[in-house]
Amino acid sequence: MIGPTPRSVGTPPAHRLPRWVLAFLGFAAALAALVFLSPVFGSVRIPWHVVVAIVLHQVTGGAFPTAPCGSPSFLSLYFFESAVTREGTARLLSGLSTSYGARQCAIWTTIAWDARMPPLLLAVFAGAALGISGGALQGTFRNPLVDPYLLGLSTGAAVGAAVLFTFNLAPAQQAAALPLLAFCGGLVPGLVVYLAARGGGRSVETLLLTGVALNFLFSAILDLLLLYRPSSNINVNFWLLGGLGDASWTHDAIVLSALLLGGTAIGLYGRELNILQLGSDVAESVGVDARRVTRRIVLVTTVLTATAVAFTGVIGFVGLVSPHIARRFVGPDYRRVLPVVALVGAVFLTLSWDIAETVISPIVLPVGIPTAFVGAPFFLYLLYRRRGRAVGGPT
């Protein structure tokens, strides 16, 4: 059997939280910290305590007064500034007011909340979507090297985008049509695999190879389109590397909705995924309809991934790497892996976005570059680790 070997999870001591709960809480805390602090990064430097106050002010619907910007009050930015910075404390002790003017604070609020928060949340939601999709597919296909893109979803979406770029649409039309076409393009290969699974009598290896073949087919179509209109190369290439800069609150809401729907649906299959690790025959013998589970997982992950990719472009390795990290912390039980892998994917993509924004600021790198720099070595590590096992290592 390829893939994670089920092993019993020992009963934790009564006085300690189970390891998977600790992992869940740890990644959740890391994600919360990233959401609060990531808006610090960008071409305009905003003090971190100002960012914290702005985010608190916004997420509490204004209950947390920002007031940095003028009259000092308890639990205001003034408080924060006084409490956490030497300059602020010195100002407080000397009876001076806060240093930031109302205009400056208004600008910082717009930059931190309106400009930086939508792409940040898109990173969170898309990362979670890609992570949970990768985890579910690795479980379904019982192969740790599977990720959503292996089924051809990325190249399908790229073909959708390339079709758009071959037409000279007006910018407004293009902005509206791009996610739609990319979504449709991403759906096609996933649906073909889904329909193949419906046919019955096909092994998971056959379905997986169907996805791989579709991947090559769509790559050829993409090349053909780019050959037809070379000028669309730069747009497609940018899109193929992924980007979050054009995110809006609407995009966030759509991806969040897909994540909640798809994530919940996948989460219901945690136990079935566990049983599938023992093989289809064993699963059938204990009453699990392996083909139906496979079909549904492929369908849901296809929709989930296509929705995320439609707004972010192609971002590789999140779906591949996140499940492995999650399994390291919580073991092979998919009932625990699935919620944690969503958090891992979110943290991974959010950190990558922070790197993309800062490494050569003010230029923002395509986010696919930092994810690849982390993901590719990890992928190679997995390959060699697996090969080592195949020649006699532990299984």
């Binding site: 910018p171 293009q174 699990v288």
Partner: protein
């Protein structure tokens, strides 16, 4: 992990549970979405005061503050007009390519940086992405851009930061005068300066038109012209149909040999140039050949441009900005083109 069928019992997730779960999460999603929208903050608003609504060169309707005092200019040709209208003091930022591409000196000539008093501190990165946050942080009231600014960046400036963006991108030389009028609407403070500039530019264009009519009436043959701003191994960068480059040559009374090319900015095969043997070759030279403008080095033209020594026409180097940036300077340069096209008929302009 419990896999013992007897402990929990094997089961498949039924369709009804699936549906209920979807409905519940859909409700949560809708509520979350609604929550997001209630958290929409008030964005940075412009200072109170009179506003004017204009139609820019991209047919966008833009409402902007009258006589904005803090403006960002994202294209050298726009800066040319801003400077000529005495609005330089209002400019708080200019678009520059990054240090990778040579920074400010790849967009502005040394003469321009001196004359217009531009400093690297004013630079706002505009390639490969526009640094919109810095523009917002400068309390910018108005951005003057060209079509080179990405639509997504324009959307960020207008939708997120609520900073109006006016696109100045004349399709031909007449469009430059339209841009002067547009700026005069945005900045009534320029008053007679705009009227004077408009009249001056209009007079030059009218004279050019009269010259062409006169030459045509006298059956004077029009010279064939290659207007090129770079070369490469097999050809020359040239202007095709409906480009302002073609309009420039036509207004000066020449026949562009690249006017049948489909694209505005198109490559003309070197063998075609060799075959056509243009009477006049105007080639753009630049001030900085370190990165993207190798083909604009004056020395490189003579040593490396394809078939250069076999082209027999009159070869004239010109500042590349004067043939690539549609601005007032380009129109002021028009009499020189007329002189080079018809040296025996049109005298050289006074300096």
């Amino acid at each position: 992990m419990s896999l013992n069928p007897s402990s929990a019992g094997p089961r498949n997730v039924s369709g009804s549970v699936f549906l209920v779960a979807i409905l519940i999460t859909a409700g949560v999603a809708v509520a979350a979405t609604a929550g997001y929208y209630t958290l929409f903050p008030a964005a940075v608003g412009g200072p109170p005061g009179p506003h004017v609504t204009v139609l820019d060169d991209s047919d966008r309707t833009v409402t902007a503050p009258v006589n904005a005092t803090r403006i960002v200019v994202l294209a050298p040709n726009v800066m040319d007009l801003v400077y000529r209208l005495n609005l330089r003091d209002r400019v708080v930022g200019i678009g520059c390519t990054t240090g990778i591409a040579g920074g400010m000196l790849n967009e502005y000539t040394p003469n321009q940086t001196t004359d217009w008093n531009l400093t690297p501190a004013m630079c706002i990165t505009d390639f490969p992405t526009l640094d919109t946050e810095t523009i917002a942080n400068l309390s910018t009231q108005l951005v003057l851009a060209s079509t080179l600014t990405y639509a997504s960046d324009v959307a960020t400036l207008t939708d997120t930061f609520h900073i109006p963006v006016v696109i100045l991108a004349p399709a031909d030389l007449g469009g430059i005068i339209t841009d002067v009028r547009l700026l005069a609407e945005l900045f009534p403070v320029v008053g007679t300066t705009a009227l004077s500039l408009e009249a001056h530019l209009g007079a030059i264009l009218n004279n050019a038109s009269d010259l062409v009519t006169s030459l045509s009436y006298n059956d004077t043959p029009a010279p064939s012209v290659l207007l090129t701003y770079y070369f490469y191994e097999d050809g020359y960068g040239a202007y095709g149909q409906n480009s302002f480059g073609e309009s420039l040559v036509a207004l000066a009374g020449g026949n562009s040999i690249s006017s049948n090319l489909t694209f505005e900015y198109a490559d003309l095969n070197a063998t075609v140039v060799l075959s056509d043997q243009p009477n006049v070759i105007l080639y753009g030279t630049s001030w900085n050949d370190e990165w993207i403008v190798d083909g604009q080095d004056p020395g490189a033209w003579t040593s490396s441009a394809p078939y250069w020594s076999q082209l027999n026409g009159t070869k004239i180097p010109v500042d590349v900005t004067l043939i690539t940036e549609p601005d007032a300077s380009m129109i002021f340069y028009l009499p020189w083109l007329e002189h080079w096209f018809y040296p025996t008929i049109v005298p050289a302009p006074l300096a």
